[in-house]
């Protein structure tokens, strides 16, 4: 089976862990997130009758020294930058991480604008932010709470990794 390593990146509390949880049922304790800064889950998705096993690396945004943990990005086929639509600062941080990640591993990336079930504080379609769309292969307005667009987003990233080969 084809397996792909996917990383979830973003400022803290934007909903990375929640998104993975919404999507999969894992076996590992959340303790790994705080102790080593990463937890891996997996999920098989089908892209045009082709099964792809996604290995989802949920990465704590920054370590305690405030250094981006690019080591976990090694070997990733794509990554998702998660931002919170109720906090505009999360977009700034997400973009920063995105540029660092591109330097470390130049692979496709998706922007997940999460917490779509809540009142938005900013919109990607705003004149100021619309330019950022182009930095990503795709973007989704997701909600880890009600599951909206979660499946679609992971489907899209699986498709991206297959295209890239």
């Amino acid at each position: 089976m084809i397996q792909k390593k996917i990383c979830l990146l973003g400022a803290s509390s934007v909903g990375k862990t929640s998104l993975v949880k919404q999507f999969v049922e894992g076996i590992f304790n959340e303790k790994y997130l705080t102790s080593i800064g990463v937890k891996v889950d997996k999920k098989v998705v089908n892209v045009a009758q082709q099964a792809v096993q996604l290995m989802l690396w949920d990465i704590e945004g920054y370590d305690r020294y405030n250094v981006f943990q690019d080591k976990y990005l090694r070997g990733a086929a794509a990554y998702i930058i998660v931002v919170d639509q109720t906090r505009s600062t999360s977009l700034i941080e997400g973009l920063e991480i995105h540029s660092l990640a591109q330097k470390a591993n130049n692979v496709p990336a998706i922007l997940a604008i999460n917490k779509s079930d809540l009142q938005a504080n900013w919109h990607l379609e705003d004149s100021k932010t619309i330019q950022y769309q182009t930095l990503f292969n795709a973007h989704f307005n997701t909600s880890a709470k009600n599951g909206s667009n979660v499946e679609e987003m992971f489907q899209a990233i699986a498709a991206l990794t297959l295209q890239e080969q």
Partner: protein, 587 residues
Amino acid sequence: MPKDISISDQESQQELEKLRQIILGQDNQLITDAVNKKARGIVSDVITEAFHDRQKKDDSIKKVLLPIVENSVEHSVTHHSDRLISSLYPLMGSLVRKSVGAFLTNFIEKTNQLIEHSFTIKGLKWRFKAWQAGVSFTQYVVSQTYNYRVEHIFLIHQETGLLLKAVNLDQQSQNDAELISSMLTAINDFVGDSFQLDENGVKEQLQTVSTDSFNLLIKPGPSAIIVAAVTGTPPQAVNEQLQLTLEEVHHLYQQEFNQFNGDNALFENVDTQLNDCLLTEEKPEKASNQKKPWFAWLMIVLAILFAGFKTLNWYQLNTLHQQIMAIDHEAGIVVKNLDVHSKHLISLDLMRDPNALSVQNWFELQQIPFENVVLKERRFYSLSPVIIKQRVDKLSANFPDLNFDWLHEELILTGNIDFIKYQQLTAKLETLGINPSEVNRQNLTIMSSDVLAQSNTINQQIFKDLVGKISTIQLSFTSGDDQVNQAMESDLLQLKQQFLYLSSLANKLNKKVGLIIMGSSDNTGNTSMNNALSLKRAENTAIALTKLGLDREQIFVTGLGQINIKDVKNTARKVMFNIIYIDDTAT
């Protein structure tokens, strides 16, 4: 990705440099010495670059150098082992020296669980045995069945952490192997990063993760990592096999590693190599393991039998205890303590009247074996009627002229008795526990002794005894009462006999005697009434005695009135007796 390749390139450069130093000597000294002096300058300028270029071109340097390197390393190991070990040790012992925290334990537990789940029917059997032995399942597997057992082999892609192939000892697919592989890689990344570079510039990597009963052996290679999950303590042979397999896989699958895009189908056949690593070493005494259930069942049966035997035994001992305890009802025997430890050890602690049935006889009568009894017997004087009767029976042998009969608890004496003998008899009866006043003496005739036959000194002594005895007699009256009643009868009878005897002795001793009867009263009521009451008591007593046959002439009666002695004044309702005696010679 390009960045990563260049890093690993750098690392291999560094390693190569070190090897060069060891093999070729400082500044390639060894090589240059071996080459023509003229060529030395030319070659030394280009040798490094030449090596590099040629290696890049057709990979031939490696082939040429490999045997040399191997030989040299071998040589180094024998001659400079200290140097080698000090540069290899940080790689090997990193985890041992530095703790990576609690999450590792958690990780192992998780993997442990998975391994436990992977056991099938065999697993169930082991589980049962572990339960029997009261240890954890894993512990049991490790300690009882195998010295070690390689349960799983994971081949993991170095760069992505993706699982290329997993093989299991129990032909069962491992569902979570992909997750474990990725997590392991993540942990490995984490550890490598945390430890930074050591003084030799080599990045430390996780080599083993261990708990008491479980080990993960991790062998990193340039393109793939091989991981063995081992229960028990793996010997060095396992490490060596892992290393061999890793090298073989790298050798055979170089192409596939380069092409890898996440599709592990490329590595479908790698299990041929990986299976070599599924080593186990069973404990030699496996045969005895198979006997174990029998042994356990035997133990259970024995335990049940033992419990049954214990219960029966307890019941038997309890019955025996009750049987022996019946000795307590035997007259003149009081059991203080009885311990029936077993049929063969009975300790009995009792008090026994000398007249009572001997303990041994009692046991014989009850048909209980006596030889197992540890007897502690103490003497005591029983007042049990049966024993008293026995004592009286014995005593009766000394008084052949008398009949000793019993009407219920009452002793009836019949016959004629000499006064002195009678005195002895009453004294004896008293020591046997019989109040002489309770003895029926109606058919007993007490005859005066032949006092003449006795010597003066003896008579003198008996006389004094009698005086003393008479003065110990007291009659008690209830408040305001002056009548002589039935209860006083026997005292008066005794008094009469004693006084008659005393009179005859007095004759013999030339003495004159008189009986003084003194009445007293308590201090309720007025003095004159009390004087009168006390006198009346004394007079009534005198009348009673005369009726019994005493001579009124020999009796003096007086009323003492109230007895004003602090301790007795409230209860002094008495009649007391005393003897006045006068020596005839004194007149």
